[in-house]
C-alpha cells in the first residue's frame, strides 16, 4: 500500500480544486461517522469508579479466555466453510453448483439469536431429537447416554459460524472469480497439482479479501450479546452489560467496550502487516465461467455435500422450523401490522444500504487518491463502530445527535424565544445514522477490496484522457467495482434487517421493525408468535440475496465488455 502512487497529488493535472476536495470529503464524512465511537471513548473517561481491580481479581481472564475461544472457533470454522465452498463453486464443476453459488448466502438472512433459539429447542434434552433417541434405545434419564450439550462453547461456535460464514464466502468467492482461471491455469502448466495451485496461488491471491470477510465475522462475533448470553458463555460483552446495568457504571462499561476495540485493531493491523508488501491488480480478464476442474463420481458428491451441509444446517432447518411454527397458526399470528412492520424494515435496510455504499465509495476513493497518513487513519477509524456492542454504540450515537439538537434548540430559545425541540433524535434519521456508523465497515470492506484490485494505470489513463477525479470515479471505477458495491449493499441490507440493539433504543414512538417485533416476543419466550416475524426477516432477506447475486454476475459481464476494462 505504501508503494501506491498518490494519484490525486500527481503534478500537472489541472484539477486543483479536486485535490483539496477529496481529503476534505473524507475528513468530514469519516469525522461524522466516528463521532459515536469517540463519544464512547469520552464516556470511558468518566467511570463512577475503577472497575479494573475488581475485574482483574475476579472474572477478567475468564471473560477474555471465553472471548478468545469464541473468536478463534468462529473464525476458524467460518474460514473453513466459507473458503471451501467459495472455491468449490467458483473453480469446480459439479451438480448443483449454479444453485449453490447464490444459495450459500442464504444462512446470512437468519439472525444468530434465532438460530440459537431453534437449535436449542431441537437438540436439548426435551427436544424431539433426544426424545426420539430415548424412545429408540429405551434410555430414561440424562445419565443413560451422552449427547453433546448445545448450550456450550462448542454449540455457540458452530451455530454462529453457520450464519456468519457467508461473510467469508462472499469475499472469497469474489476474489476467486476476479483472479481469473488463467492465473490458475498458468500455475498448473508450471507443474502445480490442483492442491498446490490452491495453496500457493489461489489462497495467497485471495488473502486480502478473505481477511476482510474474516474480520467482519470476528467483529460480529465480538459485539454479539444475545446469542452468547443465551448459551451461557461469559464473554467481554457480558462484562460490558454487567458493569453498565448492574454496577451502574456506564463509564466503566465504555472502558471495556473500548478495550474490545483494541482486539479488533490488533487483529486488523497484524493482518495488514502480514500482507504489507503484497499487492495484486486484476490484470487478466475474468472469465464468465471460471470453472477449471470438472468433478465426477465421488468427488462430485463430496463437493455437493460440502456445499449442501452448511446450507441445510444454516438455512433450511431453521427456515423450515420457523415456517412450521408460523404457518401452523398463520391466521392467529398474521396481523395487518406485519405489512407496516415489514415495510419499516425494508425501508430502513434499503436506506442504510444506499447510504453506507455511497459513503463507503467516497471514503475508499478518497483514500485511493490521497493515501496519506491522516486520510488512512480517518478511514480506518470510521470502521470501528462495527466492533462495539450495539447498545453501547447506540448511546454513542445518541450523544452527538442530542447535543446537536439541544444546541440548536438552546440557540433558538436564547435568540428568538422559540424552541425547535429534538430535530434528529428519535427520528428515522437517527436510526439510519446509527446503521451507517455500525455497518460502514461492512460496505467499505467490500468496496475497498474491489477498488484495490483496479490497477492505478486505469486512473492514469482516464486522467490523461482529460477526465477529472469525479468523472474517473463515475465512468471508470464504478462500473468496474460494481460487484463490490452490490456486495456491500447486500450485506448491509441484510445486517440492517437483523439489527436489534440500536433499533430498540433509538427508534421513534410506536415504531417496530421485524427484528424488534421478534425480540419482543422471543424475550418473553413466545417463540411461536416471534416465528412469523423471524420468517419475514428471512424471506425479505432472501430477495436481495437472490437479486444481487444475479446482478453481480450480470455486472461482471457488463464490466467485462466495457472497452476500458478490456485494456486493463
Amino acid at each position: 500500500m505504501a508503494n501506491q502512487p498518490a494519484l490525486g497529488t500527481r503534478p500537472g493535472i489541472p484539477f486543483f480544486r479536486h485535490l483539496r476536495a477529496w481529503p476534505a470529503t473524507v475528513f468530514i464524512i469519516a469525522g461524522l461517522v466516528v463521532l459515536p465511537v469517540l463519544s464512547v471513548f469520552y464516556l470511558a473517561l468518566f467511570p463512577t469508579d475503577n472497575i479494573w481491580r475488581h475485574l482483574y481479581n475476579t472474572v477478567l481472564f475468564r471473560y477474555i479466555e471465553a472471548t478468545l475461544l469464541l473468536l478463534g472457533g468462529v473464525g476458524l470454522l467460518s474460514f473453513v466453510i466459507g473458503v471451501t465452498t467459495a472455491w468449490l463453486v467458483t473453480l469446480c464443476r459439479f451438480p448443483g453448483r449454479r444453485v449453490f453459488e447464490w444459495a450459500l448466502l442464504l444462512p446470512f438472512a437468519v439472525p444468530a439469536y434465532v438460530i440459537a433459539f431453534i437449535y436449542t429447542d431441537m437438540l436439548e434434552f426435551a427436544g424431539p431429537l433426544q426424545g426420539a433417541l430415548r424412545d429408540l434405545f429405551g434410555w430414561q434419564t440424562r445419565r443413560d447416554y451422552w449427547f453433546p450439550e448445545i448450550r456450550s462453547m462448542g454449540g455457540a461456535i458452530v451455530l454462529m459460524s453457520l450464519v456468519l460464514y457467508p461473510y467469508v464466502y462472499l469475499m472469497a468467492r469474489a476474489a476467486f472469480m476476479e483472479q481469473g482461471s488463467n492465473v490458475l491455469a498458468a500455475s498448473r502448466t508450471l507443474g502445480c497439482t490442483p492442491w498446490q495451485s490452491f495453496y500457493r496461488v489461489s489462497l495467497p491471491l485471495a488473502r486480502p479479501a478473505i481477511a476482510v470477510g474474516l474480520a467482519l465475522t470476528l467483529m460480529e462475533t465480538l459485539n454479539d450479546f444475545g446469542t452468547v448470553d443465551y448459551f451461557a458463555i461469559r464473554t467481554l460483552s457480558l462484562g460490558v452489560y454487567d458493569t453498565w446495568l448492574n454496577m451502574g457504571n456506564l463509564g466503566g462499561a465504555a472502558q471495556i467496550a473500548s478495550m474490545m476495540l483494541v482486539f479488533v485493531v490488533v487483529l486488523v493491523t497484524l493482518e495488514r502487516i502480514g500482507r504489507a508488501r503484497q499487492r495484486h491488480f486484476g490484470q487478466g480478464k475474468p472469465n464468465q465461467d471460471s470453472a477449471l476442474y470438472t468433478l465426477t463420481g465421488l468427488r462430485a458428491w463430496l463437493a455437493f455435500l460440502a456445499c449442501a451441509l452448511p446450507l441445510v444446517l444454516g438455512f433450511a432447518v431453521p427456515a423450515f422450523q420457523l415456517a412450521s411454527y408460523a404457518l401452523g397458526n398463520f391466521s392467529t399470528y398474521w396481523t395487518d401490522d406485519f405489512v407496516e412492520i415489514s415495510w419499516n424494515s425494508l425501508f430502513l435496510a434499503s436506506a442504510a444500504a444506499l447510504v453506507t455504499v455511497v459513503i463507503g465509495t467516497l471514503l475508499a476513493y478518497g483514500r485511493r487518491l490521497h493515501p496519506n497518513r491522516s486520510v488512512r487513519l480517518f478511514v480506518s477509524l470510521s470502521k470501528l463502530g462495527y466492533a462495539m456492542p450495539g447498545t453501547v454504540l447506540a448511546i454513542g450515537v445518541l450523544i452527538p445527535l442530542a447535543a446537536f439538537d439541544n444546541s440548536i434548540d438552546a440557540f433558538l430559545r436564547a435568540r428568538f424565544n422559540v424552541s425547535s425541540g429534538l430535530l434528529l433524535s428519535g427520528t428515522v434519521f437517527a436510526l439510519i445514522f446509527a446503521y451507517s456508523v455500525r455497518f460502514l465497515a461492512v460496505a467499505a470492506g467490500a468496496i475497498e477490496s474491489s477498488l484495490d484490485k483496479v490497477t492505478p494505470s486505469m486512473d492514469k489513463a482516464a486522467r490523461s484522457l482529460g477526465m477529472n477525479s469525479l468523472e474517473t470515479l463515475r465512468r471508470v471505477h464504478l462500473p468496474l467495482i460494481r460487484p463490490g458495491l452490490l456486495t456491500g449493499a447486500l450485506v448491509v441490507f441484510v445486517d440492517t434487517m437483523k439489527e436489534l440493539p440500536a433499533t430498540l433504543m433509538l427508534r421513534p414512538f410506536n415504531f417496530d421493525t421485524l427484528a424488534t417485533y421478534v425480540y419482543q416476543y422471543a424475550s418473553d419466550e413466545q417463540i411461536e408468535v416471534a416465528a412469523m416475524g423471524a420468517l419475514m426477516i428471512v424471506l425479505v432477506g432472501l430477495l436481495p440475496v437472490i437479486m444481487l447475486s444475479r446482478s453481480i454476475k450480470g455486472g461482471r459481464k457488463a464490466a467485462a465488455v466495457l472497452p476500458v476494462a478490456e485494456q486493463g
Binding site: 440424562r142 448470553d229 447506540a394 414512538f509
Partner: protein, 348 residues
C-alpha cells in the same frame, strides 16, 4: 388468556364509549402521553387501550430492554418522555439518581399504593409486585424439606439446584436483599454454598429451570411467581403446563421476614411535556381495573390492597408473607451483589 383480556377490554369499551366521546369533543386537540417502557409493549398494550378508551388520551410507546434512561438523559429538557415504565426498582432508582424523574403529589396514588412500594418523595411508584420463590420438584422434594433461602446453601442440596445467571437482575435483587438482611460476609459464604449446590452452570431463564426440574436435572430452582401462571396457562406451548405441574411453589421464609418481592413500577419524567396526562395514566394504573388486569393477564400481584386476585393466583399463590424490606435499600446493594457473584465465580 388473551381472549379473556380482550373481552374485558371490549366490555370496557362499551361502558366507556359515551364518556370517551364526550372527552374527545371537549378536547381541543388530541391529548397524548409518551411512554418510555422497559417492559414489552404487548404486555402493557391492553392496559393502555383501556386507558385510551376511558380518557381519550392517546398513548405512544417506545420499548427497549436497556438504555432508555440514557436516552432521556441525553435528550435533556427536550425529551418527549412523559412516563418511564420499568420491570424493576433498579431502573427506577437509576432514573431517580440521574435526576430524570419528578415528584407527583396525588391522593389517588398515595392511597392506592402502600408506602413501602413507592419512593419517600413520590418520585416513583410501584404498580405490581412479584415474588422470587423456590420451585421444588413434586417427586423428589418433600413439602417442608426446604423453607428458606438460607437453606439453599445447605450441603444436602449438592448438585440439585438450577438457576439462571447470577448476573440477572432478579437474582441480583434477591442476593442484594440477603446483603441487607445478613451483611456482605454472610451473603458471600451463602453464595458459595449455593454455587456448590448447582446442578449445572447458570443458564437460560426462570422457566427453563422448571423445565430442568421436570427433566430430572435438578430438584430446586429459583424463579419469579408469575412464570408459574404463564406456564400453567400456556396454550401455545402446552408442554409448559407439564413443567409447571412437576413443581410445588415454595414461598420462602414464611416463619420470619417473608418472601423477597420486587415491583414493576413507573415514574413521571422530569421534563414531561404532557405532565397532566402522565399523572392520569399513573393514577389509572393504580386503580382497581388496571390492577385487576395486571393480575389477570400477567399473574403479577396488585399493589393496591383489596384488589381481587384472579382465580389462578388465589389457587396457587393466595396467601403468603412478603418481605417488607426497603426497596431502595435492596437496590443500593445490587452493585455489591454483582461483585460477589464475580468473586465466588457463580456463573462459571
Amino acid at each position: 388468556m388473551t381472549t379473556t383480556i380482550k373481552r374485558t377490554v371490549k366490555h370496557l369499551t362499551l361502558a366507556a364509549l359515551p364518556l370517551a366521546a364526550s372527552l374527545t369533543v371537549t378536547a381541543a386537540q388530541a391529548e397524548e402521553v409518551n411512554i418510555y417502557s422497559y417492559r414489552q409493549a404487548f404486555l402493557i398494550e391492553p392496559l393502555l387501550n383501556a386507558f385510551t378508551q376511558q380518557t381519550g388520551i392517546e398513548t405512544n410507546v417506545i420499548y427497549a430492554s436497556s438504555g432508555l434512561n440514557e436516552r432521556i438523559e441525553q435528550e435533556g429538557r427536550n425529551s418527549p418522555a412523559d412516563i418511564i415504565l420499568t420491570p424493576n426498582t433498579t431502573i427506577l432508582v437509576d432514573a431517580y439518581d440521574k435526576g430524570l424523574t419528578q415528584a407527583v403529589e396525588s391522593d389517588i396514588l398515595t392511597s392506592n399504593i402502600p408506602a413501602q412500594y413507592r419512593a419517600d418523595d413520590n418520585h416513583w411508584f410501584g404498580l405490581t409486585t412479584r415474588g422470587r420463590v423456590i420451585y421444588a420438584s413434586k417427586d423428589r422434594v418433600e413439602p417442608g424439606e426446604i423453607t428458606t433461602y438460607e437453606e439453599l446453601a445447605d450441603p444436602q442440596w449438592e448438585g440439585r439446584i438450577c438457576t439462571r445467571s447470577g448476573k440477572h437482575n432478579y437474582n441480583l435483587s434477591l442476593f442484594a436483599s440477603m446483603i441487607e438482611h445478613h451483611g456482605e460476609e454472610y451473603t458471600k459464604t451463602w453464595l458459595e454454598g449455593v454455587k456448590n449446590n448447582l446442578a449445572r452452570t447458570p443458564q437460560g431463564n426462570d422457566r427453563g429451570q422448571v423445565k430442568a426440574i421436570m427433566e430430572g436435572e435438578c430438584d430446586l430452582s429459583l424463579g419469579n411467581t408469575y412464570y408459574f401462571g404463564k406456564m400453567i396457562t400456556n396454550t401455545a406451548e402446552p408442554e409448559q403446563v407439564e413443567w409447571a405441574n412437576s413443581v410445588n411453589i415454595v414461598f420462602p421464609n414464611q416463619e420470619d421476614r417473608g418472601t423477597h418481592m420486587f415491583i414493576s413500577g413507573a415514574a413521571v419524567a422530569k421534563h414531561a411535556p404532557n405532565r397532566d396526562e402522565a399523572v392520569q395514566l399513573l393514577e389509572f394504573m393504580s386503580q382497581d381495573l388496571a390492577q385487576y388486569m395486571y393480575a389477570q393477564e400477567n399473574f403479577e400481584f396488585p399493589v393496591k390492597p383489596g384488589t381481587p386476585y384472579s382465580a389462578l393466583l388465589n389457587q396457587y399463590m393466595g396467601d403468603f408473607v412478603a418481605d417488607d424490606v426497603s426497596l431502595t435499600a435492596v437496590v443500593d446493594h445490587v452493585d455489591e451483589a454483582s461483585r460477589l457473584v464475580d468473586e465466588v465465580g457463580f456463573d462459571f
